[in-house]
Amino acid sequence: MKALVVDDSRAMRKIIAGALRKLGYETVEAADGAEALKVLQEGPLPELATVDWNMPVMDGLTFVTQVRAIREYRSLSIMMVTTEAEHGQIVRALAAGAHEYLIKPFTVEALEEKLALLGLLPEVTA
């Protein structure tokens, strides 16, 4: 499985992508929404995108809104991973088309449990 990790912080991208790779994902990274759109255009379409909210150039909410306007990207599962923690912000992100929402700070177990909710937790062979 393939995941696109969108966050302006390299440290955070590394934490998320590292955890996903341990689970067997192939990962690509993007530092803002515009860069992430480019990655999607180049294809192939990943199964999952984790998306930060506050980023330069194009923020995560705008990115989600744009992705949801494109039919070919329908199968992409989107999980916001952000420090935005208000009730109203989560409602906005879900309304824009995100499927899940993980608030920073988060533990690796929490990330895995969210993936399980999306049906995107690969069977790890022990």
């Binding site: 302006d8 912080s9 390299r10």
Partner: protein, 162 residues
């Protein structure tokens, strides 16, 4: 500062208390740094000795705020290494990035405590703490020690009259 903004500031300041800041910092440590070493809160206020690095993020809106993380320069690299789980040499950019993300995470969680808060800004890094707005007050502060180095977290908030 006029008398009445002062009162308004006092009201705003009450939304964020030391305890809330400590809880956010604690959750962050549990999530990202606990495997290296716990953070030890100081019982007394403690200045971070120079030279320092400071990461800050602004909160816009009716009650503007600023969240700052101040660390000894020497500790900044270890913090970044712990966050990145990397042992090798880090570039300055990596260190700034990691420190900025710490400020960002605290900033977002603080913003959620302030009613009608606006947007969270992007993190900025400097070698000295930024000057808060003239009408703002220190709403919460936490001094702590990590691996023998001092770290200070401060939340500044302004009144609606700003």
């Amino acid at each position: 500062m006029t008398q009445d903004t002062g009162l308004e500031v006092q009201e705003v300041v009450d939304y964020v208390e030391d305890e809330a800041l400590a809880q956010i910092v604690d959750q962050m440590w549990q999530s990202y740094f606990g495997h290296v070493e716990p953070l030890l809160p100081a019982l007394e206020p403690h200045e971070v000795p120079a030279p320092v690095l400071c990461a800050s993020v602004g909160i816009s809106g009716a009650r503007p705020g600023l969240v700052t993380v101040l660390v000894e320069k020497g500790a900044a690299a270890s913090l970044a290494a712990a966050l990145l789980q990397e042992d090798g040499e880090l570039t300055d950019e990596d260190v700034y990035d990691a420190l900025g993300e710490i400020a960002n995470i605290i900033g977002g969680n603080i913003k959620a405590l302030v009613p009608d808060a606006g947007a969270l800004g992007l993190p900025a890094i400097a070698e000295a703490p930024p000057l808060p707005r003239s009408n703002s007050r220190c709403a919460a502060r936490m001094d702590a020690n990590w691996q023998g180095h001092w770290v200070t977290f401060i939340v500044w908030l302004s009144g609606t009259g700003a």
